[in-house]
Symmetry: C2
Subunit: 234 residues, 2 copies
Protein backbone atom coordinates (compact mmCIF):
# COMPACT_ATOMS: atom_id res chain seq x y z
CA UNK A 1 0.00 0.00 0.00
CA UNK A 2 1.54 3.27 -1.04
CA UNK A 3 -0.50 6.36 -0.22
CA UNK A 4 -2.51 5.67 2.90
CA UNK A 5 -1.64 7.90 5.81
CA UNK A 6 -0.36 5.57 8.54
CA UNK A 7 -1.83 7.83 11.18
CA UNK A 8 -5.27 6.63 10.06
CA UNK A 9 -4.36 3.14 11.26
CA UNK A 10 -2.73 4.03 14.57
CA UNK A 11 -5.98 4.32 16.56
CA UNK A 12 -6.90 0.67 15.86
CA UNK A 13 -5.81 -1.73 18.62
CA UNK A 14 -4.33 -4.17 16.08
CA UNK A 15 -1.77 -1.57 15.00
CA UNK A 16 -1.43 0.47 18.16
CA UNK A 17 1.65 -1.13 19.63
CA UNK A 18 3.56 -1.73 16.40
CA UNK A 19 6.95 -0.23 15.60
CA UNK A 20 7.05 1.92 12.45
CA UNK A 21 9.21 -0.64 10.68
CA UNK A 22 6.71 -3.44 11.42
CA UNK A 23 3.86 -1.23 10.26
CA UNK A 24 5.75 -0.69 7.02
CA UNK A 25 6.20 -4.43 6.50
CA UNK A 26 2.49 -5.01 7.01
CA UNK A 27 1.32 -2.17 4.81
CA UNK A 28 3.63 -2.58 1.85
CA UNK A 29 1.83 -5.77 0.79
CA UNK A 30 -1.68 -4.39 1.34
CA UNK A 31 -4.05 -3.03 -1.27
CA UNK A 32 -6.79 -0.52 -0.46
CA UNK A 33 -10.20 -1.36 -1.88
CA UNK A 34 -13.64 0.20 -1.83
CA UNK A 35 -16.69 -2.06 -1.49
CA UNK A 36 -20.02 -0.42 -2.24
CA UNK A 37 -22.97 -1.04 0.04
CA UNK A 38 -24.64 -4.31 -0.96
CA UNK A 39 -21.57 -5.69 -2.76
CA UNK A 40 -19.92 -8.94 -1.71
CA UNK A 41 -16.38 -8.89 -0.33
CA UNK A 42 -15.97 -12.66 -0.22
CA UNK A 43 -18.18 -15.66 -0.66
CA UNK A 44 -18.64 -18.82 1.38
CA UNK A 45 -16.81 -21.83 -0.15
CA UNK A 46 -14.90 -19.64 -2.64
CA UNK A 47 -11.13 -19.88 -2.70
CA UNK A 48 -9.69 -17.68 0.04
CA UNK A 49 -7.19 -15.64 -1.97
CA UNK A 50 -7.12 -12.71 0.39
CA UNK A 51 -7.66 -11.59 3.97
CA UNK A 52 -8.90 -8.19 5.06
CA UNK A 53 -8.85 -5.38 7.58
CA UNK A 54 -11.93 -3.15 7.65
CA UNK A 55 -10.87 0.51 7.67
CA UNK A 56 -14.31 2.01 7.35
CA UNK A 57 -17.91 0.84 6.97
CA UNK A 58 -19.74 -2.31 8.11
CA UNK A 59 -19.68 -5.84 6.83
CA UNK A 60 -22.31 -8.48 7.42
CA UNK A 61 -20.95 -12.03 7.70
CA UNK A 62 -23.47 -14.74 6.85
CA UNK A 63 -23.45 -18.49 6.68
CA UNK A 64 -25.68 -20.40 4.28
CA UNK A 65 -26.85 -23.94 4.94
CA UNK A 66 -27.23 -26.65 2.32
CA UNK A 67 -30.99 -26.08 2.63
CA UNK A 68 -30.54 -22.47 1.57
CA UNK A 69 -31.19 -21.07 5.04
CA UNK A 70 -29.13 -18.07 6.02
CA UNK A 71 -27.73 -17.16 9.45
CA UNK A 72 -26.15 -13.85 10.32
CA UNK A 73 -22.86 -14.71 12.04
CA UNK A 74 -21.79 -11.18 12.91
CA UNK A 75 -21.31 -7.61 11.84
CA UNK A 76 -17.70 -6.58 11.26
CA UNK A 77 -16.94 -3.00 12.28
CA UNK A 78 -13.98 -0.74 11.45
CA UNK A 79 -10.79 -1.99 13.06
CA UNK A 80 -11.56 -5.69 12.72
CA UNK A 81 -9.93 -8.33 10.53
CA UNK A 82 -11.95 -10.79 8.49
CA UNK A 83 -11.63 -13.49 5.87
CA UNK A 84 -8.78 -14.99 7.91
CA UNK A 85 -9.07 -18.41 6.27
CA UNK A 86 -5.30 -18.57 5.69
CA UNK A 87 -4.57 -17.90 9.36
CA UNK A 88 -6.66 -20.87 10.43
CA UNK A 89 -5.31 -23.19 7.73
CA UNK A 90 -8.32 -23.16 5.40
CA UNK A 91 -8.31 -22.77 1.61
CA UNK A 92 -11.87 -21.50 1.32
CA UNK A 93 -13.92 -18.86 3.11
CA UNK A 94 -16.21 -20.40 5.75
CA UNK A 95 -18.82 -17.65 5.29
CA UNK A 96 -19.95 -14.79 3.04
CA UNK A 97 -19.20 -11.13 3.78
CA UNK A 98 -21.34 -8.34 2.29
CA UNK A 99 -21.00 -4.60 2.73
CA UNK A 100 -23.83 -3.35 4.96
CA UNK A 101 -22.58 0.20 4.25
CA UNK A 102 -19.97 1.62 1.88
CA UNK A 103 -16.68 0.10 3.00
CA UNK A 104 -12.94 0.64 2.66
CA UNK A 105 -10.81 -2.44 3.29
CA UNK A 106 -7.14 -3.29 3.26
CA UNK A 107 -6.58 -6.58 1.42
CA UNK A 108 -3.56 -8.89 1.57
CA UNK A 109 -2.88 -12.01 -0.49
CA UNK A 110 -3.49 -15.05 1.75
CA UNK A 111 -0.04 -16.32 0.82
CA UNK A 112 1.40 -13.39 2.77
CA UNK A 113 -0.12 -14.42 6.10
CA UNK A 114 2.64 -16.70 7.39
CA UNK A 115 5.37 -14.39 6.18
CA UNK A 116 3.77 -11.39 7.87
CA UNK A 117 3.33 -13.20 11.16
CA UNK A 118 6.91 -14.38 11.08
CA UNK A 119 8.15 -10.84 10.60
CA UNK A 120 5.61 -9.24 12.93
CA UNK A 121 4.66 -11.71 15.69
CA UNK A 122 2.41 -9.06 17.30
CA UNK A 123 0.14 -9.38 14.27
CA UNK A 124 -0.32 -13.09 14.97
CA UNK A 125 -1.03 -12.38 18.62
CA UNK A 126 -3.59 -9.71 17.65
CA UNK A 127 -5.34 -12.02 15.21
CA UNK A 128 -5.41 -14.74 17.84
CA UNK A 129 -7.07 -12.41 20.35
CA UNK A 130 -9.65 -11.49 17.72
CA UNK A 131 -10.34 -15.17 17.00
CA UNK A 132 -10.61 -15.88 20.72
CA UNK A 133 -13.15 -13.09 21.18
CA UNK A 134 -15.24 -14.41 18.32
CA UNK A 135 -15.07 -17.91 19.70
CA UNK A 136 -16.34 -16.63 22.98
CA UNK A 137 -19.13 -14.64 21.34
CA UNK A 138 -20.08 -17.80 19.46
CA UNK A 139 -20.15 -19.87 22.65
CA UNK A 140 -22.29 -17.24 24.32
CA UNK A 141 -24.74 -17.43 21.42
CA UNK A 142 -24.80 -21.23 21.62
CA UNK A 143 -25.51 -20.99 25.33
CA UNK A 144 -28.28 -18.46 24.73
CA UNK A 145 -29.84 -20.46 21.91
CA UNK A 146 -29.75 -23.53 24.13
CA UNK A 147 -31.10 -22.07 27.34
CA UNK A 148 -32.80 -18.69 26.89
CA UNK A 149 -36.19 -17.55 25.74
CA UNK A 150 -36.22 -15.63 22.47
CA UNK A 151 -36.95 -12.29 24.18
CA UNK A 152 -33.76 -12.53 26.25
CA UNK A 153 -31.72 -13.60 23.23
CA UNK A 154 -33.01 -10.63 21.26
CA UNK A 155 -32.23 -8.18 24.07
CA UNK A 156 -28.73 -9.68 24.38
CA UNK A 157 -28.08 -9.53 20.63
CA UNK A 158 -29.03 -5.85 20.56
CA UNK A 159 -26.99 -5.08 23.68
CA UNK A 160 -23.92 -6.79 22.21
CA UNK A 161 -24.34 -4.95 18.93
CA UNK A 162 -24.51 -1.68 20.87
CA UNK A 163 -21.31 -2.62 22.69
CA UNK A 164 -19.57 -3.46 19.43
CA UNK A 165 -20.83 -0.70 17.17
CA UNK A 166 -22.93 1.77 19.16
CA UNK A 167 -22.07 5.24 20.36
CA UNK A 168 -23.49 7.31 23.17
CA UNK A 169 -25.84 10.10 22.09
CA UNK A 170 -28.16 12.36 24.07
CA UNK A 171 -31.13 10.05 23.80
CA UNK A 172 -29.31 6.78 24.50
CA UNK A 173 -27.02 4.52 22.47
CA UNK A 174 -27.12 4.78 18.71
CA UNK A 175 -26.28 2.01 16.24
CA UNK A 176 -26.10 4.08 13.10
CA UNK A 177 -26.42 1.50 10.36
CA UNK A 178 -29.23 -0.60 9.06
CA UNK A 179 -30.01 -3.54 11.32
CA UNK A 180 -33.15 -5.08 9.92
CA UNK A 181 -35.59 -7.22 11.83
CA UNK A 182 -34.61 -10.03 9.48
CA UNK A 183 -30.97 -9.55 10.60
CA UNK A 184 -32.06 -9.76 14.22
CA UNK A 185 -34.12 -12.87 13.48
CA UNK A 186 -31.05 -14.52 11.92
CA UNK A 187 -28.90 -13.49 14.86
CA UNK A 188 -31.23 -14.99 17.42
CA UNK A 189 -32.50 -18.11 15.72
CA UNK A 190 -36.11 -17.06 15.49
CA UNK A 191 -38.61 -15.85 12.92
CA UNK A 192 -39.09 -12.38 11.49
CA UNK A 193 -42.62 -12.50 12.87
CA UNK A 194 -41.43 -13.07 16.44
CA UNK A 195 -38.78 -10.34 16.22
CA UNK A 196 -41.36 -7.88 14.86
CA UNK A 197 -43.80 -8.67 17.62
CA UNK A 198 -41.20 -8.17 20.39
CA UNK A 199 -39.62 -5.07 18.80
CA UNK A 200 -43.02 -3.41 18.35
CA UNK A 201 -43.78 -4.04 21.99
CA UNK A 202 -40.41 -2.58 23.06
CA UNK A 203 -40.92 0.42 20.78
CA UNK A 204 -44.36 1.08 22.20
CA UNK A 205 -42.83 1.05 25.68
CA UNK A 206 -40.13 3.52 24.63
CA UNK A 207 -37.20 1.11 25.10
CA UNK A 208 -35.87 1.61 21.58
CA UNK A 209 -36.67 2.99 18.16
CA UNK A 210 -35.45 1.84 14.79
CA UNK A 211 -35.86 2.42 11.10
CA UNK A 212 -34.01 1.35 7.96
CA UNK A 213 -30.98 3.47 8.82
CA UNK A 214 -30.38 3.10 12.53
CA UNK A 215 -31.35 1.59 15.83
CA UNK A 216 -31.55 3.78 18.93
CA UNK A 217 -31.51 2.16 22.37
CA UNK A 218 -33.39 4.67 24.50
CA UNK A 219 -33.28 2.53 27.63
CA UNK A 220 -30.15 0.39 27.29
CA UNK A 221 -30.27 -0.54 30.96
CA UNK A 222 -33.75 -2.04 30.64
CA UNK A 223 -32.65 -4.08 27.63
CA UNK A 224 -29.68 -5.31 29.65
CA UNK A 225 -32.03 -6.39 32.41
CA UNK A 226 -34.34 -8.18 29.99
CA UNK A 227 -31.27 -9.94 28.61
CA UNK A 228 -30.27 -11.03 32.08
CA UNK A 229 -33.74 -12.35 32.71
CA UNK A 230 -34.07 -10.08 35.71
CA UNK A 231 -37.08 -8.26 34.32
CA UNK A 232 -40.37 -9.64 33.10
CA UNK A 233 -40.77 -6.43 31.13
CA UNK A 234 -41.04 -6.80 27.39
CA UNK B 1 9.23 -31.73 31.56
CA UNK B 2 11.97 -34.21 32.21
CA UNK B 3 11.11 -37.83 31.63
CA UNK B 4 8.41 -37.99 28.97
CA UNK B 5 9.44 -39.90 25.88
CA UNK B 6 9.28 -37.34 23.05
CA UNK B 7 8.24 -40.08 20.65
CA UNK B 8 4.87 -40.16 22.43
CA UNK B 9 4.21 -36.64 21.21
CA UNK B 10 5.38 -37.00 17.63
CA UNK B 11 2.14 -38.51 16.27
CA UNK B 12 0.12 -35.42 17.26
CA UNK B 13 -0.30 -32.87 14.44
CA UNK B 14 0.66 -29.98 16.74
CA UNK B 15 4.15 -31.43 17.22
CA UNK B 16 4.60 -33.33 13.97
CA UNK B 17 6.54 -30.76 11.99
CA UNK B 18 8.67 -29.43 14.84
CA UNK B 19 12.46 -29.56 14.93
CA UNK B 20 13.94 -31.42 17.92
CA UNK B 21 15.31 -28.19 19.34
CA UNK B 22 11.87 -26.52 19.19
CA UNK B 23 10.32 -29.56 20.80
CA UNK B 24 12.86 -29.27 23.58
CA UNK B 25 11.99 -25.60 24.16
CA UNK B 26 8.30 -26.43 24.39
CA UNK B 27 8.69 -29.42 26.66
CA UNK B 28 11.20 -28.09 29.14
CA UNK B 29 8.61 -25.73 30.64
CA UNK B 30 5.82 -28.31 30.70
CA UNK B 31 4.64 -30.34 33.67
CA UNK B 32 2.88 -33.68 33.30
CA UNK B 33 -0.24 -34.12 35.38
CA UNK B 34 -2.84 -36.81 35.91
CA UNK B 35 -6.50 -35.83 36.24
CA UNK B 36 -8.80 -38.54 37.55
CA UNK B 37 -12.16 -39.11 35.89
CA UNK B 38 -14.68 -36.65 37.30
CA UNK B 39 -12.04 -34.19 38.56
CA UNK B 40 -11.90 -30.59 37.35
CA UNK B 41 -8.90 -29.41 35.31
CA UNK B 42 -9.92 -25.75 35.27
CA UNK B 43 -12.95 -23.73 36.24
CA UNK B 44 -14.90 -21.02 34.45
CA UNK B 45 -14.02 -17.51 35.70
CA UNK B 46 -11.02 -18.76 37.71
CA UNK B 47 -7.65 -17.18 37.05
CA UNK B 48 -6.08 -18.79 34.00
CA UNK B 49 -2.67 -19.72 35.43
CA UNK B 50 -1.98 -22.51 32.96
CA UNK B 51 -2.76 -23.86 29.53
CA UNK B 52 -2.86 -27.51 28.57
CA UNK B 53 -2.28 -30.20 25.99
CA UNK B 54 -4.30 -33.39 26.43
CA UNK B 55 -2.00 -36.42 26.06
CA UNK B 56 -4.53 -39.06 26.96
CA UNK B 57 -8.17 -39.28 28.06
CA UNK B 58 -11.18 -37.05 27.42
CA UNK B 59 -12.19 -33.69 28.79
CA UNK B 60 -15.66 -32.21 28.82
CA UNK B 61 -15.76 -28.42 28.41
CA UNK B 62 -18.87 -26.77 29.82
CA UNK B 63 -20.19 -23.27 30.14
CA UNK B 64 -22.45 -22.21 32.99
CA UNK B 65 -24.92 -19.38 32.70
CA UNK B 66 -25.75 -16.89 35.43
CA UNK B 67 -29.04 -18.80 35.82
CA UNK B 68 -27.12 -21.96 36.64
CA UNK B 69 -27.86 -23.63 33.32
CA UNK B 70 -25.09 -25.72 31.85
CA UNK B 71 -24.14 -26.18 28.19
CA UNK B 72 -21.65 -28.71 26.90
CA UNK B 73 -19.31 -26.78 24.63
CA UNK B 74 -17.19 -29.69 23.44
CA UNK B 75 -15.27 -32.82 24.26
CA UNK B 76 -11.49 -32.43 24.09
CA UNK B 77 -9.69 -35.52 22.82
CA UNK B 78 -6.02 -36.51 23.00
CA UNK B 79 -3.86 -34.26 20.84
CA UNK B 80 -5.85 -31.08 21.48
CA UNK B 81 -4.90 -27.96 23.40
CA UNK B 82 -7.24 -26.32 25.88
CA UNK B 83 -7.44 -23.59 28.49
CA UNK B 84 -5.77 -21.23 26.01
CA UNK B 85 -6.96 -18.10 27.80
CA UNK B 86 -3.46 -16.57 27.66
CA UNK B 87 -3.26 -17.06 23.89
CA UNK B 88 -6.45 -15.07 23.37
CA UNK B 89 -5.53 -12.34 25.84
CA UNK B 90 -7.82 -13.38 28.70
CA UNK B 91 -6.96 -13.61 32.39
CA UNK B 92 -9.70 -16.07 33.30
CA UNK B 93 -10.95 -19.34 31.84
CA UNK B 94 -14.09 -18.83 29.76
CA UNK B 95 -15.38 -22.32 30.59
CA UNK B 96 -14.95 -25.31 32.90
CA UNK B 97 -13.08 -28.49 31.90
CA UNK B 98 -13.75 -31.80 33.65
CA UNK B 99 -12.17 -35.18 33.02
CA UNK B 100 -14.71 -37.45 31.32
CA UNK B 101 -12.13 -40.27 31.64
CA UNK B 102 -8.79 -40.56 33.43
CA UNK B 103 -6.55 -38.00 31.75
CA UNK B 104 -2.88 -37.13 31.36
CA UNK B 105 -2.18 -33.51 30.44
CA UNK B 106 0.86 -31.38 29.82
CA UNK B 107 0.54 -28.05 31.63
CA UNK B 108 2.42 -24.80 31.02
CA UNK B 109 2.31 -21.57 33.01
CA UNK B 110 0.21 -19.05 31.04
CA UNK B 111 3.08 -16.59 31.36
CA UNK B 112 5.08 -18.87 29.05
CA UNK B 113 2.68 -18.56 26.11
CA UNK B 114 4.12 -15.49 24.40
CA UNK B 115 7.70 -16.61 24.98
CA UNK B 116 7.01 -20.05 23.54
CA UNK B 117 5.30 -18.65 20.45
CA UNK B 118 8.15 -16.24 19.89
CA UNK B 119 10.67 -19.07 20.00
CA UNK B 120 8.49 -21.56 18.14
CA UNK B 121 6.18 -19.72 15.71
CA UNK B 122 4.80 -23.04 14.47
CA UNK B 123 3.18 -23.46 17.88
CA UNK B 124 1.29 -20.21 17.41
CA UNK B 125 0.18 -21.25 13.94
CA UNK B 126 -0.99 -24.63 15.28
CA UNK B 127 -2.94 -23.03 18.10
CA UNK B 128 -4.51 -20.60 15.63
CA UNK B 129 -5.66 -23.46 13.41
CA UNK B 130 -7.17 -25.17 16.45
CA UNK B 131 -9.00 -21.97 17.40
CA UNK B 132 -10.22 -21.56 13.84
CA UNK B 133 -11.59 -25.08 13.77
CA UNK B 134 -13.44 -24.50 17.01
CA UNK B 135 -14.83 -21.23 15.76
CA UNK B 136 -16.15 -23.01 12.73
CA UNK B 137 -17.66 -25.81 14.81
CA UNK B 138 -19.30 -23.15 16.96
CA UNK B 139 -20.75 -21.36 13.91
CA UNK B 140 -22.06 -24.65 12.58
CA UNK B 141 -23.79 -25.25 15.90
CA UNK B 142 -25.28 -21.75 15.84
CA UNK B 143 -26.55 -22.38 12.34
CA UNK B 144 -28.05 -25.72 13.36
CA UNK B 145 -29.65 -24.30 16.51
CA UNK B 146 -31.12 -21.49 14.42
CA UNK B 147 -32.43 -23.47 11.47
CA UNK B 148 -32.65 -27.21 12.11
CA UNK B 149 -35.12 -29.46 13.86
CA UNK B 150 -33.81 -31.15 16.98
CA UNK B 151 -33.59 -34.57 15.31
CA UNK B 152 -31.16 -33.26 12.70
CA UNK B 153 -29.12 -31.42 15.31
CA UNK B 154 -28.84 -34.58 17.37
CA UNK B 155 -27.77 -36.68 14.37
CA UNK B 156 -25.18 -34.02 13.45
CA UNK B 157 -23.82 -33.79 17.00
CA UNK B 158 -23.33 -37.56 17.11
CA UNK B 159 -21.79 -37.65 13.63
CA UNK B 160 -19.34 -34.88 14.56
CA UNK B 161 -18.42 -36.64 17.78
CA UNK B 162 -17.75 -39.81 15.79
CA UNK B 163 -15.53 -37.82 13.42
CA UNK B 164 -13.64 -36.29 16.32
CA UNK B 165 -13.33 -39.24 18.66
CA UNK B 166 -14.73 -42.38 17.02
CA UNK B 167 -12.91 -45.34 15.55
CA UNK B 168 -13.99 -47.87 12.99
CA UNK B 169 -14.90 -51.29 14.38
CA UNK B 170 -16.57 -54.32 12.80
CA UNK B 171 -20.06 -53.21 13.70
CA UNK B 172 -19.73 -49.54 12.81
CA UNK B 173 -18.08 -46.54 14.45
CA UNK B 174 -17.36 -46.70 18.15
CA UNK B 175 -17.14 -43.72 20.51
CA UNK B 176 -15.61 -45.49 23.48
CA UNK B 177 -16.29 -43.10 26.30
CA UNK B 178 -19.38 -42.12 28.22
CA UNK B 179 -21.60 -39.75 26.27
CA UNK B 180 -24.76 -39.41 28.31
CA UNK B 181 -28.13 -38.39 27.00
CA UNK B 182 -27.81 -35.33 29.21
CA UNK B 183 -24.53 -34.49 27.40
CA UNK B 184 -26.29 -34.81 24.06
CA UNK B 185 -29.17 -32.64 25.29
CA UNK B 186 -26.68 -29.94 26.31
CA UNK B 187 -24.89 -30.22 22.97
CA UNK B 188 -28.06 -29.76 20.96
CA UNK B 189 -30.02 -27.26 23.00
CA UNK B 190 -32.88 -29.55 23.86
CA UNK B 191 -34.23 -31.49 26.83
CA UNK B 192 -33.14 -34.85 28.19
CA UNK B 193 -36.66 -36.07 27.51
CA UNK B 194 -36.47 -35.22 23.80
CA UNK B 195 -33.02 -36.80 23.38
CA UNK B 196 -34.20 -39.97 25.13
CA UNK B 197 -37.24 -40.23 22.90
CA UNK B 198 -35.23 -39.85 19.68
CA UNK B 199 -32.35 -42.09 20.81
CA UNK B 200 -34.77 -44.85 21.84
CA UNK B 201 -36.38 -44.65 18.44
CA UNK B 202 -33.00 -44.84 16.68
CA UNK B 203 -31.92 -47.74 18.89
CA UNK B 204 -35.06 -49.65 18.11
CA UNK B 205 -34.36 -49.18 14.41
CA UNK B 206 -30.79 -50.46 14.85
CA UNK B 207 -29.10 -47.16 13.93
CA UNK B 208 -27.03 -47.03 17.10
CA UNK B 209 -26.60 -48.48 20.57
CA UNK B 210 -25.28 -46.84 23.70
CA UNK B 211 -24.71 -47.44 27.37
CA UNK B 212 -22.82 -45.66 30.12
CA UNK B 213 -19.43 -46.54 28.63
CA UNK B 214 -19.76 -46.11 24.90
CA UNK B 215 -21.84 -45.17 21.89
CA UNK B 216 -21.81 -47.38 18.80
CA UNK B 217 -23.01 -45.98 15.48
CA UNK B 218 -24.23 -49.07 13.65
CA UNK B 219 -25.51 -47.15 10.64
CA UNK B 220 -23.36 -43.99 10.46
CA UNK B 221 -24.52 -43.31 6.94
CA UNK B 222 -28.17 -43.18 7.97
CA UNK B 223 -27.34 -40.78 10.79
CA UNK B 224 -25.48 -38.63 8.29
CA UNK B 225 -28.55 -38.57 6.07
CA UNK B 226 -30.84 -37.66 8.95
CA UNK B 227 -28.39 -34.85 9.80
CA UNK B 228 -28.55 -33.59 6.24
CA UNK B 229 -32.33 -33.64 6.33
CA UNK B 230 -32.38 -36.00 3.35
CA UNK B 231 -34.18 -38.73 5.25
CA UNK B 232 -37.45 -38.58 7.09
CA UNK B 233 -36.29 -41.67 8.97
CA UNK B 234 -35.99 -41.42 12.73
Amino acid sequence: MSRLDRSLLRPFPLFRGLADADMEVILESAATRRVAKGATLFEQAAEADEFFFLLDGRLKVMKFTSDGDQVLIRFVVAGEVCGMAAAIGRNTYPATAKAAADCVVLAWPSTMWLRLVEKVPALGAGAMRALGQRLEEAHTRITELSTEEVQRRLANAITRLAGQAGRKVDKGILIDFAVTRQDLAEMTGTTLHTVSRIMSCWESKGLLEGDRQHLLLREPHKLLMIGEGSSADG
